[in-house]
């Protein structure tokens, strides 16, 4: 699906920017699309507002309405 392709591209772009992204998952939920960024929990815990804004900008540039992190995923 196109949305999953976009998610892969978003993950590649984030990795190119230096973020240790495991994957971006394309989630369609409640009529909206969410790009769920999976990266190590310790990195998430050290992420400042600038990092979060950069990640959101990249994910949304690939067409996702929202960018989010999984709070309860197995490997976050």
């Amino acid at each position: 699906m196109a949305i999953e392709f976009d998610a892969r591209l978003a993950a590649e772009r984030l990795r190119a920017l230096g973020y240790p992204v495991v994957a971006v998952e394309a989630l369609g939920a409640g009529g909206e699309t969410i790009g769920v960024v999976r990266l190590p929990l310790d990195r998430l815990g050290r992420m400042d507002a600038g990092d979060r804004e950069t990640i959101a900008r990249v994910v949304r540039a690939f067409g996702f309405r929202h960018a989010a992190f999984d709070l309860d995923g197995p490997a976050v």
Partner: protein, 277 residues
């Protein structure tokens, strides 16, 4: 020439209202307006009315009740029926219009029956420019907005509230629970209860300024950037609490809570703004 200050202007506007029914949600603005109206007009010329329904969070209704009791505000609680309006329940981008249409109809009836001359709301100067379809309903029902008319901003209302000892002075903004549901997804009492339960769990963890955005079985938490690290520190308990509310999956939004996020991406043709309605 004497220049009238915003505070003087607000007091003059409240005097013009003569006797007033205030739409009183328990939020910063309406609590302040009700308290000021009592101060300026006297207790017998003011009635604070809280319209209750599933879309008003319980903690807001409790705040409304507690502040009214503490400050001896004449107060009335009336159930509103916006949930029965299919135009509201369908959750279009002008959903607030149908809610406020119901609220102001009820409050105008109360005002007529009890002999109050004016119905007023707590809209303020910062609301101008936001997507506010409810303002259209207010205009249609001849509801006055003294804080907006006087040009008071939210920060100025907080400051004045603090000066007069209102406990709501630093309360986070708290729009209705339906605002957590994306436009086009139906608003139902069950969904509103689920959102409220999830937010109550997060509030018990000490978070104050956040929203739980509802995406079917996914909860996407938007926290204020200042609370990002607190939310992560409470991750396990937060996930447990939100899951207990019935969500299968818990996400935290990268951008976090920001005013008007629900309306981002709405086409200009669907925006309804104060002064441009």
């Amino acid at each position: 020439m004497v220049v009238e200050s915003k505070r003087e202007r607000l007091i003059r506007i409240v005097r013009e209202c003569d006797s007033v029914v205030v739409g009183y949600s328990g939020g910063v603005d309406s609590v302040f307006l009700a308290a000021l109206c009592v101060e300026v007009l006297g207790r017998d010329r003011v009635l604070a009315v809280t319209g209750t329904s599933a879309s008003l969070a319980s903690w807001m209704a409790e705040t409304a009740r507690d502040v009214a009791a503490t400050f001896s505000l004449p107060w009335l609680e009336i159930e509103t029926a916006e949930m029965l309006d299919p135009r509201y329940a369908a959750n279009p981008s002008n959903r607030c219009y149908f809610c406020k249409n119901e609220l102001w109809s009820v409050l105008q009836r109360v005002a007529r029956e009890r002999g109050f001359r004016t119905v007023a709301d707590g809209a303020n100067a910062d609301d101008a420019g936001d997507h506010r379809p409810g303002a259209l309903a207010a205009a249609e029902h001849a509801v006055r907005s003294p804080l907006l008319e006087a040009g008071l901003t939210k920060a100025e209302i907080r400051e004045w509230s603090r000066e007069i000892g209102l406990p709501t002075w630093d309360q986070p903004a708290a729009p209705c629970l339906a605002s957590r549901i994306p436009y086009g997804t139906a608003v139902t009492p069950a969904r509103l209860r689920q959102i409220e339960a999830a937010e109550a769990a997060l509030r018990r963890l000490g978070l104050r300024d956040f929203r739980v955005r509802h995406h079917d079985d996914v909860a996407r938490i938007e926290v204020h950037p200042d609370e990002w690290f607190a939310a992560l520190a409470a991750r396990d308990a937060a996930v447990r609490g939100v899951r207990d509310a019935g969500y299968a999956r818990v996400l935290i939004d990268a951008l976090g809570y920001r005013r008007g996020a629900l309306n981002e991406g709405l086409p200009a043709s669907q925006l309804v703004q104060i002064g441009r309605a």
